[in-house]
């Protein structure tokens, strides 16, 4: 796989270091994608895209200078390298020699999605639509989306690094609307991975059915309670709470600017001793996994919380250099149009020993938050807000009525310290994480987790 010949990459790095700099980097990428959706019973909006481009970056001290260009033609690459070098004020430096590199085959693709006929993808969407509608007469509307993408990436830097990656992802998503007696509710579900078409071979329609079930269930929902209550958070997408309320605060850029409540807390006990959490960009076939990050560092599993103790932040090259540590392989970017920043890959709590029923049985009156419509956190304070898209009351140790309109409001550090139970049913769901204007695929997950007390904002009393 060659996007840019090593010889040309060497000249681009040399041009980038024309006026000095501690590190120069060339990131080249080819992006091929296809997507298709079904809405209102009709297959529509097929979109096919092919993009080629590169980003050249020079790091000098704490400053980064970068530029990107569409296309990988030699004159374009040399021009962008020259323009980036303009910003630097020093003596020319020679980059170390770079060699060719081939991607490592650690997330094997069973069946290349681009070789599957488009008609089969359309059929998949129709089958999902039918399954969603079969779930109940109240199903009013289904929207199903299929997307595949292949990103081929090459990274070269002036320290002699040469690395490559070949990333294929597929994702199926369903959003179902159910209506009854003037009530309208929406349910969603997704399945995706760093994988090929094989991921969608076994009962893919289950995704649509699950979305439909959520919508139908929520039709029966009562108003959410308000107040400070015990909350059991569901596995899989429930992990978005960890992602937002803890994970973002562990990203080293926020930590170094002291824009994170976790700054200065390495080695401290931040949770009960049965709580362990990972960021794992190497987990095979997982949605947020890659072979290397977008600076060429091999992905790996980083233990961020070990038996309750905060053990590591998440680093890219730039922030790692500043702290005198090695990159944890978290330098990610949306595309060649972006500069890498520390980002999570797949972030999850390690499984414990309880069952979900054990966790629920211990709650007299609380909320069972199965999935979230999304969430937001202020890393500086750790304050977070999550909309609960599927939630239930817990009464006398049992899950009872579904509730609507619940919001969880709290603080990451406090919520983390308040975890008083973890089940064994780890599951990881597919999300897109937005930060600094960039969106990257991120796996969010956990087993069922119980939080002693959280503020639940709702519409009821």
């Amino acid at each position: 796989m060659t996007l840019v010949q090593p010889e040309l990459a060497g000249r681009v790095l040399e041009a980038a270091l024309r006026r000095g700099g501690d590190l120069a980097e060339l990131y080249a990428e080819s992006r091929h994608g296809f997507r298709l959706s079904l809405d209102d019973g009709k297959v529509e909006r097929p979109v096919d895209g092919l993009e080629l481009g590169a980003c050249v970056r020079v790091v000098e001290g704490d400053a980064s200078y970068y530029g990107y260009v569409d296309g990988l033609a030699e004159p374009d690459l040399l021009r962008v390298a020259g323009s980036v070098a303009e910003a630097v004020r020093g003596q020319a430096r020679a980059p170390a020699a770079v060699h060719a590199a081939e991607p490592e085959d650690i997330h094997p693709i069973g069946s290349r999605p681009e070789e599957v006929e488009a008609a089969a993808k359309a059929e998949l969407l129709r089958a999902c639509d039918a399954r969603a509608r079969a779930a109940g007469g109240e199903v009013a509307q289904a929207r199903v989306g299929y997307a595949e993408g292949r990103r081929r990436v090459q990274v070269f830097n002036s320290d002699g690094l040469a690395a490559a990656d070949d990333r294929t992802r597929v994702r199926l998503s369903a959003q179902v609307v159910a209506r009854s007696d003037g009530r309208v509710e929406t349910g969603t579900d997704t399945r995706g991975g760093h994988a090929g078409w094989e991921l969608l071979v076994e009962d893919p329609e289950a995704v649509a059915e699950s979305a439909a079930r959520k919508a139908l269930t929520m039709l029966e929902a009562v108003d959410a309670p308000t107040g400070r209550l015990p909350v059991v958070v569901g596995n899989g997408f429930g992990g978005v709470l960890l992602h937002e309320a803890v994970g973002h605060g562990l990203e080293a850029d926020a930590v170094q600017k002291r824009a994170s409540v976790y700054a200065g807390k390495l080695g401290e006990q931040v949770a009960e001793p049965f709580v362990t959490a990972y960021d794992d960009g190497r987990r095979r076939g997982e949605w947020g996994s890659d072979g290397i990050d977008d600076e060429g560092t091999p992905t790996r599993r980083t233990t961020v919380i070990e038996e309750g103790e905060l053990t590591s932040y998440l680093y890219d090259l730039l922030r790692a250099r500043k702290d005198g540590v090695a990159s944890t392989g978290n330098g990610r970017r949306e595309s060649f149009r972006h500069v890498p920043v520390p980002r999570m890959t797949n972030t999850y709590f390690a499984p414990g020993e309880a069952t979900p029923d054990d966790l629920i049985a211990g709650v007299e009156r609380g909320l069972y938050a199965v999935s979230f419509g999304g969430g937001q956190v202020e890393p500086a304070t750790g304050d977070f807000v999550f909309g609960v898209s599927e939630g239930y009351l817990i009464e006398d140790g049992e899950v009872t009525a579904p509730v609507r309109g619940a919001t969880l409001v709290g603080n990451g550090l406090e919520a983390l310290a308040a975890i008083d139970g973890i089940a064994s049913d780890l599951d990881i769901a597919t999300g897109y994480c937005g930060k600094a204007g960039q969106s990257v695929p991120a796996g969010v997950g956990q087993p069922h987790v119980r939080i002693r007390r959280l503020t639940v904002g709702g519409t009821g009393e």
Partner: protein, 451 residues
């Protein structure tokens, strides 16, 4: 890349799609350069200089349409994109309403491109970002400025289609923002300041920085308030976020697909007459202004809510045909990487009367909201019920008082619009929820939940 070359690329794309077998085709080409400066603690943290270009092609065949895009504007590249668009159309189901518009045109919109941008050297832009940071830091109580950013872009767009329409335009934009911290530890509060204009000469660095600092400082000491039902004043940022969401619900596409709470409400009273909302792609200051929309229909102003009544939905060609109506020029495109879809351009809340202080005085006892979180996850788009996290200050004796956080505000969108009691006189452009110009808005009553 010159505007002529861009239009030529769009034309070549159309021809290539017709050659491949399409009945109709449309090419959309873009090129642009952008600059981004980020400063931290008085020094440049990052500086970027970037150029991009690309083309997107819509191909129509036998009542089907397909879309493809690419970054290669050579004959070969454009030809490949056009063929991919034509081939992908085969997989779609037929839709007799899909197709090119019947009428095309370009409205006169002044001032989209400011020559002033060219006069600014990189060094001056860096200084502007540093000025923003300094102004934020100068606010009493500010402990840190997390970042101060300046960005600009100069872009060109060209469209061509198989009905003989071809047009293009160039535009510039410059914006800056800063995020400041005040307080410490668990009492650390953040504040955002923003400004946007056609060129950096019209950005007020002092005001942007000061806004960030003052917003952060105002929240220091915030605590969770007790639950209550009370009047609520939404500041311009928050009002804009809500209006952006409401605007997206007025898309005819959302309505026709049964995903809008406003379906079947055209012509009905949906708001207090104090609130008037329009979509206007011709406002010279509007960040989303353009002479034509994403499929070549001329831009215009469309009144959405006037006299409390819902006047119309927003249409593109396909949704208009479905409804037996005319397009409102709202086929919008994020970029050449996506096919056109119904969207708002600039949403403008018509200014009312009174200053913020007067709205707060009218509220008497209540809540002033300066930030909402999780709006898109917290609102049910079909029923309109919402519960979103918020922070701000209590209104006590008609004045801004105790800062509050960790609370939620809940209502449903139509009840909220009907409960509008006052709209401020001074609107501002806010880049949240799309491009929205909004003043502060007083809501008669909302449910606020805290402890």
């Amino acid at each position: 890349m010159s505007d002529g070359e861009l239009e030529a690329a769009a034309r070549r794309a159309v021809q290539a799609a017709l050659d491949a077998g399409a009945d109709d085709a449309e090419g959309w080409a873009e090129s642009g350069v952008s600059r981004n400066v980020r400063v931290y603690e008085g020094k440049v943290e990052s500086l970027s200089d970037a150029g991009g270009r690309g083309v997107g092609v819509r191909a129509f065949t036998a009542e089907r349409s397909g879309y493809a895009y690419g970054t290669d504007l050579s004959d070969e590249g454009v030809g490949g994109v056009a063929r991919a668009a034509y081939e992908s159309a085969a997989v779609a189901d037929p839709d007799e309403d899909d197709g090119l518009p019947e009428e095309f045109g370009a409205a006169e919109v002044d001032g989209l491109r400011s020559a002033g941008l060219e006069d600014w050297s990189t060094q001056r832009k860096v200084e502007l970002a540093l000025d923003v940071e300094r102004a934020a830091r100068a606010v009493d109580g500010v402990t840190q400025v997390e970042n101060a950013v300046y960005s600009d872009a100069e872009s060109s767009v060209a469209i061509a289609n198989s009905r003989g329409f071809a047009a293009g335009y160039a535009s510039t934009e410059a914006w800056s923002y800063a995020s400041a911290f005040a307080g410490e530890g668990s009492d650390l509060m953040t504040g955002l300041g923003v400004g946007l204009a056609r060129d950096p000469g019209r950005l007020d660095a002092d005001a942007i920085g000061r806004e960030a600092g003052e917003r952060a400082r105002a929240l220091v000491g915030a605590r969770q308030p007790r639950s209550r039902r009370c009047p609520v004043v939404l500041d311009a940022f928050v009002a804009a976020s809500f209006m952006g969401f409401i605007g997206s619900m007025l898309s005819a596409d959302a309505v026709q697909r049964g995903r809008s709470l406003f379906a079947d409400r055209e012509g009905e009273d949906v708001a207090d007459p104090a609130l008037a909302l329009a979509d206007d792609a011709t406002d010279p200051d509007g960040p989303a202004s353009a002479p034509f929309d994403g499929e070549g229909a001329a831009s215009r102003r469309t009144a959405l809510i006037e006299g409390g009544r819902l006047q119309t939905f927003l249409f593109d060609t396909r949704t208009a045909r479905k409804a037996g109506r005319a397009t409102t020029g709202n086929a919008s495109r994020g970029s050449y990487r996506s096919p056109p879809a119904v969207g708002t351009t600039n949403l403008i809340v018509e200014p009312g009367e009174g200053t913020l202080a007067e709205l707060v005085a009218t509220a008497g006892e209540g809540l002033y909201v300066t930030d909402v979180a999780g709006l898109h996850s917290g609102v049910n788009p079909v029923s309109g019920t919402f519960s979103v996290g918020a922070s701000g200050r209590l209104i006590e004796n008609g004045e801004l008082g105790t800062p509050v956080r960790e609370l939620t505000i809940a209502s449903d969108l139509v009840s909220m619009l009907r409960a509008v009691e006052g709209v401020g006189a001074e609107g501002r452009w806010v880049p949240f929820g799309g491009s929205v110009k909004a003043p502060p808005v007083l809501i008669r009553r909302m449910s606020v939940s805290g402890s």
